[in-house]
Amino acid sequence: MPAIRIEGLQKVFGAVRALDGLTLTVEPGTVFGFLGPNGAGKTTTIRLLTGLARPTGGRAWVAGVEIGGDRRRLTGRIGHLPEEPVFYPWMTPREFLDHVARVFGLSAPERQTRVQELLELADLADVARRRIGGFSRGMRQRLGLAQALVNRPEVIFLDEPASALDPAGRKDVLDLIGRLRGQSTVFMSTHILADVERVCDTVGIIARGKLIVEAPQKELVEQYAVPAFEVECNDGDAPQLQVWADALRARPWVTSVSADASTARVVVSDVQTAKRELMTSAAQAGLLLTRYEMVRPSLEDVFLRLVGEGGRS
């Protein structure tokens, strides 16, 4: 049974179609990266899946519970970290986690152990008795993650979990998310591609309320990446580089060539032929190469290409 199953989910706000027939499946125990530009419908999707909002159309199941049905059964199985977590400022983090643990019905000994575990996990043990009102955004984000884990949820929804954090905080949070793999299903919305590349197994890209693609991250990159090579030579070789670039454009296995003073980027249609002929032709053109590499396609390339296509459709 999938951890999350969404079928034709729709959400309309007046004249705005925030979600337009979203359909996707998330397998249990995976870290799912839900990617999209601002306003694509990521937060709306999470609000619908957590029961905070009602869909205009379509159906969805989270941990086997249909949304819009038994709210208490659904909320007992999920954890949720909103984009900007807010707390009662007059509480301490220990009190807040204890309150959440009481809501989930943990016994007193369970609460004590779990709260201490989570304070340490979120690196908040030293400030456990300080009022949350004085916390930095990073501290609130870590506390938000801790409260989302109190009940050891089957499915955890994270809305932009690392966007407010400094590099060290981001690394900690992403490491923690990575450690959840296999224990919980993580549904993580973000627009930071580097975070997705770091922790996500599967990626869904959404634009204008529609899912453009859903696939394992590696497959996605391989499927949509543009095969390209970069060749760099001495600055003094600029004239030869331009001549070589012009000559390359005539080859049937070359799609396009762009060149500046010392670097040429060659997009090819036939990688094997390119591997055989590119170096040879550069040597024949008299170029003294300082770098030659097949450019590793990035998720960013894929994202920009797909979102561009989705935006035009």
């Binding site: 957590t50 909002a53 807010v86 009662y88 007059w90 019905g105």
Partner: protein, 252 residues
């Protein structure tokens, strides 16, 4: 169990945010000040120019004046406090996002609301109890003993009266997304009730009649306003059920 968890949080919030202290302090101060003010009114009048002549026209203060002063003070400050401490109860949590944070957990919305009403009820009940004891002692010292059971009845009726405004304001707080808007709406409701109370036929069944009934009991009069009590309890129930129905359908 979940209700006790929610109630515990609400009471802790009332304490930490000083709302409990403010409600208690205001009601106790004005409760105790009522018999004092009644007793000192002739002396205060004598302080103004030609005051002696005026004071001679004023009858000597009695326990009835102390009770009237108490009823007036508690009526005014009770309503104002009910509006002020309740208007942000739900609206503020929705606006800031803490309601969404807690309601994606197994916390039923009905419990979330009822815990707030219960905590506010306890706050007002405790504060009125202390104010009542203080006022009773001072009235006894300054004017002689009042019937304790009648005094208790007056304060129970006063509690019901205040809870009508707590429940109405809680409904407004659920309907609106900001505390100020909720306060404005509740104040509008208060104005409507005030206008209606100017109509003699209707005023007999409005919550304000509870204060008249209680004051009369405290002074030994044999009066009753059961329809007003029924209307007040109905207003509380309708407001709470309305708030729950609205809140269940709201998106957070």
């Amino acid at each position: 169990m979940i209700f006790l968890t929610a109630l515990r949080k609400e009471l802790l919030e009332q304490w930490r945010s000083y709302r409990l202290l403010i409600v208690g302090a205001v009601l106790i101060v004005f409760g105790i000040a009522s018999p004092l003010l009644a007793r000192l009114t002739p002396e205060l009048i004598r302080l103004v120019p030609n005051g002696d002549a005026l004071a001679a026209l004023v009858p000597a203060p009695t326990a009835a004046d102390a009770v009237a002063q108490y009823a007036k003070n508690m009526n005014q400050f009770g309503v104002v406090l009910a509006l002020l401490v309740t208007m942000g109860a739900v609206a503020q949590e929705k606006d800031k996002g803490t309601a969404a944070m807690m309601l994606v957990k197994p916390m039923p919305r009905s419990v979330f609301l009822m815990a707030k009403f219960a905590a506010l009820s306890l706050t007002f009940a405790g504060s009125i109890a202390l104010a009542a004891v203080g006022s009773y002692v001072y009235t006894r010292v300054l004017f002689g003993a009042l019937d304790a059971s009648a005094w208790l009845a007056l304060n129970l009726l006063f509690l019901v009266f205040v809870l009508v405004f707590v429940a109405l304001t809680l409904l407004c707080s659920t309907l609106m997304r900001s505390a100020v808007a909720a306060g404005g709406l509740a104040f509008g409701g208060l104005v409507v009730l005030s206008i209606l109370s100017a109509l003699p036929a209707i005023s007999q069944v409005l919550p304000g009649q509870l204060i008249v009934w209680g004051s009369g009991l405290a002074l030994g009069a044999d009066i009753a306003a059961w329809p007003a009590l029924g209307v007040s309890l109905a207003l509380i129930a309708i407001s709470l059920v309305g708030a729950w129905l609205v809140f269940e359908r709201q998106e957070l």
